[in-house]
């Protein structure tokens, strides 16, 4: 168990003087306890900065609490519908901020800091992987009782692929954005109206804040729905499929359709704002807004897919669960008679039934019995050398495949040389063919082939790869007069491409 939050909480709680009882009633005491708990949730963040001096090395330059809050932020935003946030993605996104705090330090140290902060927020060292704070209350009889408050900020959850993902807890979200525990739907509508107004007025910094808040709501909404569907999957009978769930699904689908339309409209607006903005900071903010809204739309689409699966899932689960014929009854109901009552007991009592269940329910093991003579032989046998390399691989029999290409490398080079034309002097195909024929009777075929390909130049590829020049061929109607070839006498030339401009365009498009 961590001691992180212990000291500050205790200092806070020490009664001022004997006899002066500070809490006048249970309500005030409760309010105090609630505030103490809220305070405790921030303790791990403060503690990051306090503990950084204990790290071997020079870590004074990093603002750990800032990195910690950023980490909580990133996990919240990357939490997906089914799984939590991918640990590596979170670490990768965290790195630029860490690096910016201390740019002169090596990259390995930045990674170490990011990892340390994330692990500290999970509290990897403790067995519960959580935090504990101690606070005090006055009991009904007026006695002062110290109590343990256990909480987590980032928790690790299993993903469908068997991996471990991260999710922020309610406590962390409260630390992060304050009281988000509101009616999700209405809060979201409010945030979006605000966003639209702000964009129209060109107040992009405020709009970004609003958009980010809207995204938190979206995440929260998805989280609520995920839990409902999860519960359905676990037990069909537990959920009201006559009214409540269909209503909920309809409502959610309506909501998605509405938001989708809305967010697409916003997206168009911001794109315009981005393209028209002249100040670089405005342009950047608008571009970030585009990203956020795109992400919102992606989340809605994901949610919608889940909602459409809900109906078939219910029918399949009903087939599986509901149509089992009721049979004879056993006297014992494991859940109602055992598990539920045990969970209510204090741990020192609860351990007796669980111990009994384990002792009688784990099965039996046949003990290993060894004879002394066997043991001696066993111990004296030299260990078998382990084959690290495994069996030797047979040398594969390689047969040289005959070179059946029509043109040799030298010919290709000669042809490309021939076609390496200056940008301002294109040539006729007929001239090129004649020149090629003088060098090598086979060469004209290759030149013709390349020229025909150039009639439809791979512009897209050249653009993506940032090439600086591109061979092209144009048909201007002239007929080719050649003993071997027929068709159009193409004009073949080189086009220069604006590689720098293209690179900038590409970045923008991403």
């Amino acid at each position: 168990m961590t001691v992180i939050a212990d000291q500050p909480a205790e200092r806070e709680l020490r009664p001022p003087a004997a006899g002066a009882r500070p809490a006048p009633g249970p309500a005030a005491d409760e309010g105090l306890a609630r505030r103490l708990k809220a305070l405790a949730c921030t303790a791990p963040l403060h503690d990051l900065d306090n503990r950084k001096v204990n790290l071997a090395g020079e870590y004074g330059g990093y603002a750990m609490a800032e990195v910690g809050l950023a980490a909580i932020d990133l996990v919240t935003l990357h939490m997906d519908f089914d799984t939590g946030a991918d640990r590596e993605i979170v670490l990768a996104r965290l790195l630029p901020r860490v690096a910016a705090q201390s740019p002169q330090r090596p990259g390995a140290e930045h990674q170490r800091v990011a990892r340390w902060v994330l692990e500290s927020l999970i509290n990897v060292g403790s067995v519960d992987r959580g935090f504990r704070a101690v606070y005090g209350t006055f009991g009904a009889d007026g006695a002062y009782v110290r109590r343990d408050y256990d909480f987590k900020l980032i928790e690790e959850v299993p993903g469908p692929d068997g991996g471990v993902y991260l999710r922020t807890t309610d406590e962390a979200v409260n630390v992060l954005v304050g009281a988000l525990d509101t009616d999700v739907t209405s809060a979201q509508i409010a945030a979006e109206v605000k966003l639209e107004v702000l964009i129209r007025r060109g107040r992009l910094a405020d709009a970004q804040l609003a958009a980010e808040q809207a995204r938190y709501r979206t995440v929260q909404y998805a989280e609520t729905l995920r839990r409902v569907l999860d519960a359905t999957r676990r037990n069909v009978r537990a959920v009201d499929w006559m009214q409540a769930v269909p209503d909920l699904i309809d409502e959610a689908l309506d909501h998605i359709a509405d938001r989708y339309r809305h967010e697409n409209a916003i997206l168009t607006n911001i794109r315009r704002a981005r393209d028209e903005a002249e100040e670089p900071s405005h342009k950047r903010q608008a571009a970030e807004l585009v990203d956020i809204v795109k992400d919102c739309i992606r989340r809605h689409t994901q949610l919608q897919a889940r909602l459409l699966e809900a109906g078939p899932l219910f029918r399949a689960e009903q087939d599986r669960q509901a149509f089992a014929a009721p049979a004879a009854r056993s006297g014992i109901d494991l859940y109602g008679h055992l598990l539920a009552p045990v969970l209510r007991l204090p741990i020192e009592q609860a351990i007796r039934p669980t111990d009994a269940f384990f002792a009688h329910g784990a099965g039996l093991r046949t003990p290993t019995a060894v004879r002394v003579s066997d043991l001696v032989e066993l111990l004296l046998t030299p260990p078998v050398e382990r084959e690290h390399l495994g069996a030797e691989l047979p040398d594969p029999d390689l047969v040289a495949t005959p070179d059946d290409s029509r043109f040799s490398e030298a010919q290709l080079e000669a042809a490309l040389d021939l076609l390496d034309l200056p940008a301002d002097a294109p040539r006729r195909l007929s001239g090129l063919l004649a020149e090629a024929r003088r060098q090598d009777p086979e060469l004209p075929y290759l030149v013709a082939l390349l020229a025909v390909h150039a009639a439809s130049p791979p512009v897209g590829t050249a653009y993506r790869q940032g090439e600086e020049r591109l061979l092209f061929a144009v048909d201007d109607g002239a007929t080719l007069a050649d003993p071997e070839f027929g068709g159009a006498d193409l004009i073949v030339g080189s086009a220069l491409l604006d590689a720098v401009g293209m690179a900038a365009d590409r970045k923008d498009a991403q």
Partner: protein, 291 residues
């Protein structure tokens, strides 16, 4: 451990059997017990085993002899049938019994860990046989997943937490008396899973603890792995049903009653649909009557 616990030994103990039985019969009876000790072996897979099971059912004298051999070895015979084979359970103080300390070293010293390991076993059984009739129906095949068991317990814990909040109880335990902490809190505050340096499960997490319980039950011949989905998907065997119904359930129940907790239900399932008047709440997957 140099005492051989060969199945041939107790055959000698079972000597005061009816005179009509030959040493060969005793050897056969001991052979049947030794088959029963191989928990994963089923009569359907071994002709000799199947023949001995048949003989046990048809020849009362032989059946008494085999049962006597088992009793001499400090074993309890739960059932002898073609579906389960000779289902044996270790009696208390038997050399075949599993001790918590051997099961998990951490559980031997830490009360909370010991509780969590025991609770995991109980939860696996409760999830595998959710309704009372599932335990009685011999054809019933339970199906569990490791992640599902953890989610199931967590949900039950969350219900208790909500209920405590509703009544305004402060469930945060007193720092001076950690033993009075409510049991559900211990499971709820333990991490679900965790990343480790190697790609294994974090052994102290609840999924790690459940995974260990399930793996152990597979070795006991109580579960069979169906797939790797959701942390591992498993089917129950006939032996598990017998063990839980005839032994483990009642043993735990006896302890509970001894503690003065007498859960009273009308014998119908407690995992029931939610009250229709209630609004649908997130995580209302298992609304329970008994809570």
């Amino acid at each position: 451990m140099t005492t051989p616990h060969d199945a041939s030994w107790p055959a000698a103990e079972a000597e005061p059997a009816p005179a009509a039985l030959t040493p060969g019969d005793v050897a056969d009876a001991a052979r049947l017990v030794s088959f029963g000790l191989q928990a994963k072996l089923l009569p359907a897979r071994d002709a000799e085993y199947a023949e001995l099971v048949r003989r046990h059912r048809e020849d009362p004298a032989f059946a008494r002899l085999a049962d006597a051999v088992a009793t001499g070895l400090n074993l309890v015979v739960l059932e002898v049938s073609p579906r389960a084979g000779m289902a044996l359970a270790a009696a208390e103080e038997s050399v075949f019994a599993v001790r918590m300390g051997d099961y998990s070293r951490r559980a031997a010293s830490e009360t909370t860990d010991r509780f969590l390991h025991g609770l995991a076993h109980l939860a696996v059984a409760a999830m595998a046989f959710p309704r009372p009739e599932d335990l009685a129906d011999e054809g019933y095949l339970g199906r569990i997943t490791v992640n599902g068991v953890d989610a199931f317990v967590r949900q039950a814990c969350r219900r208790l937490e909500e209920q405590a909040e509703l009544t305004g109880d402060n469930t945060d335990p007193s720092s001076d008396a950690p033993g009075l902490e409510a049991a559900w809190r211990v499971w709820a505050r333990r991490s679900t899973t965790g990343a480790t340096k190697d790609a294994r499960r974090l052994s102290g997490s609840t999924i790690g603890i459940t995974g260990k319980a399930v793996a152990f039950l597979v070795d006991s011949g109580f579960l069979q792995k169906a797939s790797d989905d959701a942390g591992g998907t498993y089917r129950t065997t006939a032996r598990y049903q017998l063990q839980v119904r005839d032994l483990a359930g009642s043993a735990a129940m006896a302890e509970l009653i001894d503690l003065g907790v007498v859960p009273v239900t009308d014998g119908s399932a407690t995992l029931l649909p939610a009250d229709h008047s209630d609004e649908l709440v997130a995580d209302a997957g298992l609304p329970f009557h008994s809570l």
